[in-house]
Symmetry: C2
DNA sequence: ATTGATAGCTTAATCCTTTAAGCTAAGTGA
DNA sequence: TCACTTAGCTTAAAGGATTAAGCTATCAAT
């Protein structure tokens, strides 16, 4: 059973395809199609369950009603959650989402942007990798709606939604200090990503302001190499036994770290304070529970998709905006003064 | 800078669009285009960075190279992980993925299938909701490649990939029994989804085989209603104090349950054995660590996308297959005899 | 010289919509 | 009666590819 075309609808009703098209697109009045005919056509379409061919429509109009979502890794709960939120709003507005993961590989990121261009997506949501500014600039120059997310490209005039990494990190570190921790280590990725650098700087500012010593451990993250990370952290703790708290710059570093500490028999909270960037069920449920900086996922997603929709609606009037949302500092047991009782 | 069309390529080189098209599609030899001309055209295309319009191509050929992925919730780590695996393989084969979440709402699921049809996706991966058999049957009847996932529709002749819920549940319950737990409660959703029923039946079989008493608690899951679930579980534990182990039928039920038990001060592992369907970082790291049945995500995803690709490659030769993969029973501290020392 | 085959292309229909421009009949005003 | 409007459509080009069928020149064989 082949799909019906607008042509068949037209010939069945002995009218032209233009008329059908106008009616389909709600331009009946504007094009002065009589209400009677409009009703007749609508009824026929309903009855025969006719659905216009989206491809032909897109070819003609240049609009696909598809949003391209390029994230670091769709399997990461953070990005998956964003994908979920975005989807809700997008679907309400008639947009579908096509996703892909860069795995933080600039080459793959470039390919993805190219592919999405080829596919004529109407708008882009991108977590940029390093060295991808040119591709993004190219999109902007082509007047294509783009919103960056999670990481900014400082040199571009473009919409961006993210959180205040520097400030949150600074506040979190300050909180640890207020709890009388004196030697706070910062475990982060060996990365030049702006958000990672901001997190580090926020920590360092709090440390310097309080005339404390900074202990920064940069580890290289590679899938399935957790034991290497553990070794590095263990080594740091042994070399610098004065460390009394650890601030993890990411979720998965913390998970690896917690596993190590459990294995080492170090009592989190009592012997070692802890703070983590990016919350997780695990941190809430762990005993003792672990303090975290929760990204405002819901708010960011909402802003993201709103910006993009607005941009897609009127490409000319839209002006870029940078939205930096505050994170939620969630204080739990791992960073309380509990350890003093030890 | 408008995008170049095949027409412009042709006229620039003073040849016909057909020639260009044949060369683009690797049919140069077959169509006896001379190697010189082929080279010339390839060079021109390369130089001017010409990329054919995918929409036009799709309109003509009827192929979009897009796979529709319909899951319960893309934000759920399980489905997100599947999405990640599928993406890898799909992209290698030139397919893009468009996703959406049913939220287990049959009405939404139907709409999604319709929308994907409208968009001419080449193949479908679906976690069906209840009452959606007709829509899926319609897809099959239209010779569209579909692979079901996670939950089967028993009445349809269709490819399916899932795990052995009954067997895994049975084995897990048997393991608990072997550890001398005598009163094992099963906490599950009040759902008629086949995989949930299988999990329950697996548990019950192990219970009956060992002449034990079954304690089944069915709770209604609704977002942000965790406290209701907690109340129900707490009530059960108070009414039936003889319960010495809990088997949670899903990940998030267990997370809620653990939170409650921590709050109640019940010592997991020592006072109460525990087993969970569907693994999670949390269960590995929790102290004591919590036993779980890990879904074979990687294997399922691989099978899923392979089946679908094969089906899409030759719709006629392909025959449906049902793949039921074994789960991984991961024994951790929460279900060892440790409690006997208490 | 004629036929046939083959290499090496081209022509033009087709996929299905959208939409600017045009056409016809009826009604209005002078 | 004639010129103009207006209502209510229709015509046909365009969007950018694919592909069956056809065309021409060359060369070999008879």
């Amino acid at each position: 059973m082949k799909k019906m075309s607008i042509k068949e609808v037209a010939s069945a009703l002995q009218i032209s395809t233009a008329t059908v098209s106008y009616i389909l697109n709600g331009k009946a009045k504007e094009k002065r199609i009589s209400p009677e005919l409009t009703k007749k056509v609508t009824a026929f379409i309903e009855e025969n369950n006719f659905r216009p061919n989206h491809l032909a429509k897109s070819l003609r109009t240049g609009k696909t009603n598809v949003i391209g979502l390029i994230v670091e890794d769709i399997a990461d709960p953070f990005f998956a959650s964003v994908a979920g939120h975005i989807e809700n709003v997008a679907y309400e507005n008639g947009y579908k989402i096509i996703y892909s993961s860069t795995k933080n590989d600039p080459k793959k990121a470039k390919e993805l942007i190219d592919t999405f261009r080829d596919r004529n997506v109407d708008g882009y949501i991108i977590t940029p990798t390093e060295g991808i500014d040119n591709e993004i600039k190219y999109l902007i120059d082509s007047k294509l709606p783009v919103v960056l997310f999670d990481r900014n490209c400082n040199d571009l005039d473009i919409s961006y939604v993210g959180m205040n990494n520097f400030e949150s990190s600074y506040q979190a570190a300050k909180y640890l200090i207020s709890q009388d921790y004196k030697n706070i280590a910062f475990v982060t990725l060996d990365s030049v990503q702006p958000q990672m650098i901001d997190r580090l700087l926020g920590y360092e500012r709090a440390i310097y302001e309080n005339r404390l010593t900074s202990f920064v451990k940069k580890v290289e993250y590679r899938a399935a190499k957790e034991h290497l990370i553990m070794a590095e952290i263990e080594n740091m703790l042994k070399t610098e036994p004065q460390i009394d708290a650890i601030f993890f710059a990411t979720n998965y570093l913390a998970i690896t770290g917690i596993e190590l500490l459990n294995r080492m028999g170090v009592k989190i909270g009592e012997e070692l304070g802890m703070m983590v960037f990016d919350d997780n069920d695990l941190f809430r449920i762990h005993q003792p529970s672990i303090s975290a900086i929760a990204q405002p996922i819901q708010e960011m997603s909402q802003q993201l998709i709103n910006d993009l929709l607005e941009h897609m609606q009127d490409t000319n009037e839209y002006t870029n905006r940078t939205t930096v949302l505050p994170a939620h500092l969630i204080i739990r047991d791992s960073s309380s003064k509990m350890r003093k009782n030890a």
